[in-house]
């Protein structure tokens, strides 16, 4: 049996970064092939290369025994490779039929034949068990139906390869069932489907084979039935599930005692579309780790705590006081600080100096009428540059000229300057070099000893286990396990991530 689409030794090099290195992928008609990997593994780059949205640096794309060099998405579409992107890319103001046939409307005497278009649209949708009025606006249907219509559009262009990028991210359980039914049907019709998701349960429900990527390289290709879930998680995270000995959790009884003073309490917190019934206790001077795969709800917990996502139910209390968080400034005033995951877009203000970046949050907390003099801010900046060992000649250097690790330290300094009682760090060590990595870890430790409470998310389990006295494991937007004391090993955390 030959593959309908074969990628051979694909490499994609961006200036300074190897996004893909010698990656291969084989797709057979009539299979659902799951493409898995953590954030930054190279999944989306591979899809972009496959569909012509990005041009490969090296390698071959062989589609039905012919070699192609796609340079635009339309070229790939025309030979039969369709992509349905994560956000539904259709037009809410056009009718369902118009959306299905935009760009290739059925015509008669050069004019659009509306009745034929409606008939064809209905025909197409019966394959998806959708019996809907195709003449009304797309926006009158639910996201799930829109997603199915987007897939139907992909099929209408007679696709033989269908790439679904996170198609279930915005669907509920019933809608997922409908989608899977359609996928199974397409499979039986001989379409090859690439399925990208971060819901591992779904991978086992629908896929036949799995390709795992990590750090731009292919880890392996597996038959789904023969790969138990823990092994899959191992492959994705790149660590073996072995017992880690020498847990250094013999913390002094003094910190143990202080940890009994509760600082933060989240009770039954739910937020629409992000987390469900989440409970969490953080004590004074305690570092709590949040673990879980990408999309498990880690970042969403941070957002709910910082007032970015609104709560539907539940309550958050800080030092005994109930918090009403409707925007981040409420959280800042309550003494909560957040270093966001994406430092480039959510954290630094590139052209501003280190000093200005550090004093930003403090100034916001003081209010604009209590102006922080340049002298004071200079003292503050110098203090943190020294304390956090930020490598810079002076505080007036624009922050975008610093390395990633040093930028991260400046953001940390910004939030330390407001002296928060709870500091949330979302992936503080991602994308920074080893040296800065260690410095940030030791900083977390010294902050904790100084009585600050920390909530840290990280995909590096060993790192989490090293500094946290409690790790909360999340899966599918719910808390699945809480580990502390001698239970807290990276082995246990990984098992919890994999099995719940």
């Amino acid at each position: 049996m030959t593959a309908v689409l074969e990628l051979k030794n694909i490499s994609k090099i961006y200036p300074g970064v190897k996004a893909l290195e010698d990656v291969g992928l084989q797709l057979f008609s009539g299979e659902v092939h799951a493409l898995l990997g953590e954030n930054g593994a190279g999944k989306s780059t591979l899809v972009k290369v496959m569909t012509g949205a990005e041009i490969k640096s090296k390698g071959d794309i062989i589609f039905q025994k012919k070699t192609y060099n796609f340079s635009t998405p339309i070229e790939a579409q025309q030979v039969g490779i369709s992509t349905v992107y994560q956000e539904v890319n259709l037009l809410p103001n056009l009718s369902v039929a118009q959306n299905l046939f935009l760009g290739h409307e059925p015509k008669r005497f050069g004019f659009i034949d509306h009745s034929l278009m409606v008939k064809k649209a209905k025909q197409l949708l019966t394959r998806f068990n959708l019996d809907i009025d195709v003449t009304v606006d797309l926006s009158s249907y639910s996201v799930a139906v829109q997603q199915l219509i987007a897939i139907a559009r992909g099929i209408a262009m007679s696709a033989q390869v269908l790439i679904l990028d996170e198609p279930t991210a915005s669907l509920d359980a019933d809608e997922v069932k409908v989608l899977f039914k359609v996928m199974n049907q397409l499979k039986s019709e001989g379409v090859a489907i690439v399925f990208i998701t971060h819901f591992l349960d779904q991978v086992y429900q629908i896929s036949d084979r799995i390709t795992v990527l990590r750090n731009g390289k292919k880890v392996g290709e597996y038959i789904t039935d023969k790969l138990p879930q823990p092994k899959l998680v191992e492959a994705m995270l790149g660590k073996e599930l072995k017992e880690l000995t020498g847990s250094h959790r013999a913390e002094s009884s003094m910190t143990q005692k202080r940890e009994n003073e509760k600082l933060l309490r989240m009770e039954n917190v739910s937020s629409k579309g992000s987390i469900q019934q989440f409970d969490l206790d953080v004590s004074k001077g305690q570092a709590v780790g949040l673990a879980g795969l990408l999309g498990s709800g880690r970042t969403e917990v941070c957002k709910a705590l910082f007032g970015i996502d609104r709560l539907n139910e539940g309550r958050i209390t800080l030092a005994g006081l109930k918090l009403r968080l409707s925007q981040p400034s409420d959280a800042i005033h309550a003494g909560i600080a957040l270093c966001p995951e994406d430092r480039k877009t959510d954290g630094i203000i590139g052209p501003l100096s280190i000093r200005e970046n550090i004093t930003l949050a403090l100034q916001a907390r003081l209010g604009w009428w209590r102006y922080l003099s340049k002298q004071k801010s200079q003292i503050l900046a110098d203090l943190y540059i020294e304390k956090l060992l930020i490598a810079t000649p002076d505080a007036d250097k624009p922050i975008n000229q610093l390395s990633g690790g040093n930028q991260q330290k400046v953001i940390l300094a910004r939030w330390l300057a407001i002296e928060p009682s709870l500091l949330i760090l979302d992936e503080p060590t991602r994308g920074i070099d080893i040296g800065a990595h260690a410095e940030i870890l030791s900083l977390i430790n010294s902050l904790r000893k100084g009585g600050m409470s920390l909530l840290v998310t990280s995909s590096e389990l060993e790192e989490l286990v090293a500094f946290a006295s409690k790790v909360v494991v999340m899966r599918d937007r719910k808390k699945v396990k809480e580990l502390s004391g001698h239970e807290l090993t990276s082995q246990h955390v990984m098992t919890a991530i994999a099995e719940g």
Partner: protein, 320 residues
Amino acid sequence: MFTRRYLPLWITTSLLVFLFAVGAFHFDGFGSLRVIINLFSDNAFLMITAIGMTLVIISGGIDLSVGSVIALSGVAVSVLISEYHWHPVWAFIVVLPLGTMFGMLMGLIIYNYRLQPFIVTLAGMFLARGLATTLSEQSLEIDHPFYDFVSDFGFQLSGGAWLDLSTMTFVVILLIVIMLMHFTSFGNNIYAIGGDEKSAQLMGVPVKRTTVTIYAVSSLLATVAGIIFTFYTFSGYALAAVGVELDAIAAVVIGGTLLTGGRGFVAGTVLGVLLMGVIQTYITFDGTLSSWWTKIVIGLLLFFFIVLQKLLNHTSTART
């Protein structure tokens, strides 16, 4: 037919019928074919301009240059006829493509440099007005037998109504544009771009070609309107049609087209112009009210329709 998409259209129609009925009830001679036909012939140039504006607004843009293009087209035609003694037909043949190119240029600038249509067509507005003034500061009279012939051309209808050439031109243009909007890919593409330009591009809509064509059509129709305007006045004047772009935008909005793009109908715009015309006729028949009352009523109507659009949009997002 009575879905949310058509609701604004029905509201405009009902208002139009209601106001006309009120007028016919109050004044003798208001409810006649003659008044209806005059609504068309008096407003033909505005309707033609507003049809072009509808395309632009459905695509999510705006064209502020149309009033100035009307003036420029009128002045250019009168200069060619009166000063250079061209035959009017030759003048039209030269001026129409030039007007179209003016719109193409604006469309190219908007697309290539990703600029706001508002600012590009504002520049176009000043440019066209300035060019018109440079051609002739004074009003230029047109005295040509062809003009007499055309303005006398028409059909006598019952009740003293007179169907003139400007109304016939308008009807032909209206039919062509409705065909374009609903039975060609070009029309679908305009709606698609107005819905979401990025998605439209991903779905294979030729966004550049469509954008340029939209502005070209708008300018072409404004140029036609400018020529028709010279048949009303038998002259070309650089300061004519000031603010017509705003009347056109008002008619488009009253006709039910969303200012944010993606939704609307050319037919609605025609109803919008007619509604504005009926209000004006009513005030003329009344005789005691200042003509500025027209503006007051149109202002109130605009507020009403903008709020209506917002409410309709709210229900549509609530349903998804």
